[in-house]
């Protein structure tokens, strides 16, 4: 046992010893210890450095309120977890932590030099300097200073090493959520459990034996230890984080490190307790000065004496109980210094029980000692907190202070309602609570204290002695900073916060906010409720990004795979992400470049036959007697006239007249259509159609079903395409008479039913072969086998793109949400016989303007590639002088033409056909002459696909 650890008592297990290191130095503790208690037991008082002045700091608190003792937890591997409160780290064998914000070491920190310039670094000082004189233009001066500021910024450092841990989510539903398993929370949980309700009981602390024992038998109570409820969202949805494995030396791989709980409840009981407030006086941040309740917790829960000789400094009775408790646990209480002239009898009795000298109407006005406390100076004070002349010093190694209690109401205030002021507690209560909410225990201001004692403090927040008196410990905000904000007009509490950064540190001002606003209130001559509090926001305690990411860590989005996916991989495809889909880009032969591969693939289609996986196209079953009418309304062209067994190309507009999507729709029966959409827009189009059916035309008898995944497709195209099909299709004839252009037949390939439509994206004689997705790989292989004699070539997206560019077919790059049918040369598809979605607005002046960008083709005249995203210009006159006429939407090497070509959207492009222009791509340093041509490069009469 160390000198600081009592031989008995506390929640620790003395039978086992745990070894851990801080900055490489070895320490020992026991199961049940936090890093804070274990270090205290080892006599360590210096646990951190403050943000701005690098002042030495020790423990202030024992729980979530701790602002000072922040460490970086190391490992596994190179992983680092910065800014973790020592009070929240349960030690385990092999734990390694590192102190922060110091150089070269915690005990000798050169940054502490900032203290010397303390007055210069007053609130908001950086707004007033660092930007240079007016005659130095630009931001250069600031950049120089900022470089140094950023070097000094930050607390701990993060690591780039991939966190190997897993994180998970849990969706929970209950009748009553109880937050906090203190006395009040336990009682609330008990009541709810006995009423037969489904209860979830969360507490930030490790499992308490009391809760565990009590609720072991209740199947309707779920106890979640190490779980902090951090967010309140609409409709009684709460977010909580469970630290599942942080306390384990060797967590098994199947356990998540953190679990993100999303709890929907009917009722909530907030029993989160109250936090004690520090008093604001010079030197109140010295290591060894801590909250009285924290001092007591260390002694009672961990059997660690926070000091051998303790001075208690208070403005209320509760600290007397703490003093008595500390004395009973083996500390000497040198004195109780109370700002009040007349503490009540019950308190005096406790002082006597503690063996403490009682010094009333007095206050601590300074502290002595560097990295550990050696004594305090006290003086008599007046009712306004101003100290008188009468001074004495007391030697002590711990100062336990209590400035009153602040109920923990943040959860109830997160939705933005205004908290209510309690004149006696000098603190805020939860706002008026909506139904389903209740506050319990000290969170409700209900302190269950011994007879004659009260938690109501004297309204003294600050002792106005000379020296740096801290309000916000982590951010080094002093009482003078608050007054400076006042002097400069930053008097609104939110201005004060932002100007001084009070309450913006990792503890969000849990212990600091009230004193800060009280000091501002005094400066303004207002009461604290008139000044008001700053807004609470989630999360209530810092939460790992990993926890909230949950199962999406390492798995951001699911993959969508076509049935032929494995075949593509086995056959050398380079895959490409298209939204969530994975699609073959090329099937490169060894040594081939991408361009060589797609040129080979595309050329094979033009000269022989190719096959491409088109399973990703959106497919929507449109069924019902009103399906033809519905299609007439959503497409620009007519579908009611389409014969059964035929397909038609369709174009959709948005309501504002802009082109939306295109695709073919197949009429499979009188009431039965199969619509296809582009891969990218499948979801959006489906949603749009559903919207019209539900919200605009509810009496149309139409059923829409996504069948994208039901049907897989292979497009077989090229002069030999028909031969391939003829070789493998049974049950249907595929010759021109039976299967004309845009015709559909049903048949079988290798025993699997297929639906074949003769349509062409490549401009060749081509067929889309659809089969049930579960048969599709089988059908694909059969097509490959049948195509073998014709040297069938699988092709990927690059070749697909090349073929469509050669044909001047538009897709997403051209239908980009800004172009009209006219811009794209699709005006022929705008029916004049009917109105359709978009018809009313497509003729607005802005959509008709001659300067609009219109689709054209480009041919490179210098035989070099044209980059996508290049612009088209009239003349090449350096980079700046030229005006953009438009831009390239898609480009490729055309095997059919033997030239580099592109599609482009060019101002008044249709008037420029045959003209010369230039493409320019200053970003990639490419410019060159082009000819503007009609966008259909290959077979404009369509002989090949009709062939």
């Amino acid at each position: 046992m160390s000198a600081h650890r009592a031989p008995t008592g506390g929640r620790i297990d003395r039978s086992k010893t745990i070894a851990f290191t801080v900055d490489g130095k070895a320490y020992a503790g026991h199961p049940g210890d936090t890093l804070a208690s274990a270090l205290l037991a080892n006599g360590v008082t210096l646990m951190g450095r403050s943000f701005k002045y690098h002042r030495p700091r020790g423990l202030l608190g024992a729980g979530d309120e701790e602002p000072n003792a922040l460490f970086t937890v190391l490992g596994p591997g190179a992983v680092r977890e910065p800014n973790i409160q020592a009070t929240r780290i349960e030690i385990f064998d092999g734990l390694q932590v590192e102190s922060q914000n110091r150089f070269p070491s915690l005990s000798f920190d050169v940054g502490a030099i900032n203290r010397l310039a303390g007055k210069l670094f007053s609130a908001g000082f950086y707004y007033k300097t660092f930007f240079g004189p007016e005659w130095i233009k630009g931001t250069r001066v600031w950049h120089v200073f900022e470089w140094f500021i950023r070097r000094a910024a930050g607390l701990g450092s993060a690591s780039a090493a991939r966190d190997p841990a897993r994180y998970e989510r849990m969706n929970a539903f209950c009748d009553v959520l109880v937050v906090g398993a203190g006395k009040a929370g336990l009682a609330a949980a008990r009541d709810a459990a006995e009423a037969g309700k489904r209860v979830i009981l969360c507490d930030s602390e490790p499992p308490s034996p009391a809760a565990t024992a009590e609720f072991a038998a209740h199947a309707n109570v779920e106890c979640l230890p190490r779980t902090t409820v951090w967010g309140h969202y609409d409709d009684m949805t709460f977010a909580a984080v469970e630290r599942v494995a942080d306390h384990l030396a060797d967590p098994p791989a199947h356990l998540p490190r953190h679990r993100h709980w999303v709890i929907r409840t009917k009722e909530i009981v907030v029993a989160t307790g109250a936090v004690e407030r520090p008093l604001v006086f010079p030197g109140n941040d010295a290591p060894g000065v801590m909250l009285a309740s924290a001092a007591l917790r260390y002694a009672a829960e961990f059997a660690v004496r926070p000091g051998a000789r303790i001075v208690v400094f208070a403005n209320n009775d509760t600290a007397y109980a703490a003093a008595a408790g500390l004395a009973a646990l083996g500390s000497t209480i040198a004195a109780i210094v109370d700002v009040r002239p007349n503490p009540p009898e019950a308190a005096r009795a406790l002082a006597a029980r503690a063996g403490a000298e009682l010094i009333v109407a007095s206050a601590v006005v300074s502290t002595a000692g560097g990295k550990a406390l050696s004594g305090v100076a006290i003086a008599e004070i007046g009712p306004d907190g101003a100290p008188g002349a009468n001074r004495r010093t007391l030697s002590c190694d711990c100062l336990a202070m209590s400035g009153g209690w602040t109920p923990q109401i943040q959860l109830a205030a997160q939705q933005g309602a205004k908290p209510r002021w309690d004149e006696r507690l000098h603190a805020f209560h939860a706002p008026d609570l909506p139904s389903g909410w209740s506050m319990a225990g000290s969170a409700a201001g209900d302190f269950d204290l011994d007879e004659g004692l009260s938690a109501y403090p004297a309204p003294v927040f600050e002792i106005k002695a000379k020296g740096k008196a801290f309000v916000d410990f982590q951010h080094d905000v002093t009482a003078d900073d608050v007054r400076l904000a006042h002097c400069e007009g930053y008097v609104n509490v939110e201005h004060m916060k932002r100007y001084t950064t009070l309450g913006m540190a990792t503890d969000q001002g849990r212990t600091a906010n009230l004193a800060g606003l009280a000091i501002m209130a005094e400066a303004r001559g207002l009461t604290p409720p008139e000044v008001g509090t700053t807004r609470s926001r989630p999360p209530l305690v810092p939460v790992s990004l990993g926890a909230i990411t949950a199962e999406r860590k390492d798995d951001l989005k699911p993959w969508r795979l076509t049935p032929m996916h494995d075949w593509h991989l086995e056959n050398g495809a380079t895959m490409y992400n298209a939204g969530l889909w994975s699609r073959p880009m090329i099937y490169g032969a060894p040594g081939e470049t991408i361009e060589q591969a797609y040129v080979r693939e595309a050329a094979a289609v033009r000269s022989g036959v190719g096959i491409v996986d088109v399973s990703t196209l959106g497919k929507i079953a449109v069924q019902g007697p009103d399906a033809p009418e519905f299609l007439d309304r959503v497409y620009t062209n007519l579908f009611s006239t389409l014969a059964v067994g035929k397909a038609r190309y369709g174009l959709m507009l948005r309501e504002d007249g802009i082109a939306y999507d295109d695709g073919t729709t197949w009429r499979l029966g009188d009431n039965d259509f199969l619509m296809t959409t582009t891969t990218a827009n499948a979801g959006k189009v489906m949603q749009q159609l559903e919207y019209y059916l539900d919200c605009v035309w509810p009496d149309l008898r139409v059923i829409l079903t996504s069948v994208t995944d039901e049907w897989a497709g292979a497009a077989v195209g090229g002069p030999k395409a028909r031969d391939v099909l003829a070789a493998c299709v049974s049950g249907a004839k595929v010759d021109d008479a039976h299967l004309p252009f845009m015709g559909i037949v049903k048949g079988e390939i290798a025993g699997a039913p297929v639906l074949i439509c003769r349509l062409s994206f490549s401009g060749e004689l081509a067929y889309e072969v659809y089969s049930g997705a579960g048969h599709a790989a089988h059908v694909w292989e059969a097509l490959m086998a049948a195509g073998k004699p014709f040297a069938i070539t699988p092709y990927g997206l690059e070749a697909l793109g090349t073929l469509r560019i050669e044909k001047g077919h538009v897709t997403g790059a051209e239908i980009d949400g800004r172009t009209t049918a006219r811009d794209l040369g699709l005006d022929w598809m705008l029916s004049k016989k009917k109105s359709f979605v978009g018809s009313a607005m497509m003729d607005r002046e802005g959509l008709f303007h001659p300067d609009r960008l219109r689709l054209v083709g480009l041919v490179s005249l210098d035989d070099r590639a044209i980059n996508g995203g290049s612009h088209v210009v009239d003349s090449l006159d350096g980079e700046k002088a030229t005006q953009s006429l438009g831009h390239v939407t898609a480009a490729c090497f055309s095997p059919a033409l033997g030239r580099y070509i592109a599609l482009a959207l060019v101002k008044n492009g249709r008037e420029r056909l045959g003209q010369r222009a230039f493409i320019t791509d200053p970003l990639r340093g490419r410019a060159g002459p082009v000819e503007i041509v009609h966008p259909v490069f290959v077979d404009p009469e369509g002989k090949r696909m009709h062939g």
Binding site: S122, K128, G138, W142, G154, L155, A165, I548
Partner: protein, 419 residues
Amino acid sequence: MREYSAFALLKNALTGNTGWKEAWRKPELKASYDVIIVGGGGHGLSTAYYLAKEHGVRNIAVVEKGWIGSGNIGRNTTMIRSNYLHPQNQHFYEHSLTLWENLSQELNFNVMFSQRGVMNLAVGPAQLDDFARRGNAMRLAGIDAELLSREQVAKVIPGMDVSASARFPIYGGLMQWRGGTARHDAVAWGYARAADRLGVDIIENAEVTGFLKDGDTITGVVTKRGEIRAKKTAVVVAGSTGQVMKLAGIDRLPIESHVLQAFVTEAVKPFIHTVAAFGGGHLYFTQSDKGSLVFGGDIDGYNTWAQRGNLPVVEDVMSEFVALFPGLARVRLLRSWGGLMDMSMDGSPIIAKGPLPGMYLNTGWCYGGFKAVPASGWTFAWTIAKDEPHAFNRHFTLDRFRRGLIIDEKGQGSTPRLH
């Protein structure tokens, strides 16, 4: 000597920091002004400043519902850039950027505009081409832009996953080095102080609850602190536009109010020195001079007037961030908040005279109006002073929708949740 300087700091430090003046006065309102500006956000304050400075109009009241900077100027992720695609936007935002570049000196207030670069990360060759289209358009308009390779991107942001095995591998990025961030609150305070010194009355806690009218003509406003009259009343209340305009009898506008959430982590030693946006989802991020990672994503996607968001977007944003920075799963979220955005139907702003006589309207900033603060105030001041738009804002009219002259950067049409 100018009020704020290193010398002044030193002098005041020696005298106990008691010599500083109020950054802006707390005046009582007068019965009438030449111009009333409704809304003490970035745009309102900069409008007042440029009216006073450029156009000599000094008798101005800025009336603000709460405290200045309580709106979006005080809660945005502070990204500044002019990397727009459409010329109508390019010229305007580039003008803004040039004003930003000398703003601290001009206002004698360090707004900490830090030109650390703004980058759009492309997740595929098609997206890279799309960014190239934008970058080339910028270059042709005389704006700086660079296309970075994957390797260059990795150098700019160490620790980011640019591997080919990522779910959405990064192919490169469009970088505007002159873009960056500024200290949001300082912008509000700096403009307020500079306007105040030119005589502008900044009146806080004066919510406008009605308009004074003579027939159709707006002749002033009713505020919680009294009535004020003016020949010209400018409404520049960002997310609150719908509500304020209803007070003037304008019931419907091409504007929806949506919430955008933003996030900061605990401070860690700075390692991200640039601003970046991830094209594989809806994420943009930077690291502040304090060390906090500051980031945001998509809007929540529904009409709202509550300045707070919901959990699904929080989860989405964290997921994308952790996907890009797998080492940051152990860094912790410190605070999240929301701001109300005035989402216009094409994603571009409105800075125009009207819609009623005596009234001027500035709105439609969506999630991108912080960077516009200088140019918005500058052009709006011009429009108010001269009763006609400047070339920079002449396209930002209210009637462009009816006329089909939409400026749609995203190509998503009139669905704000997709912008």
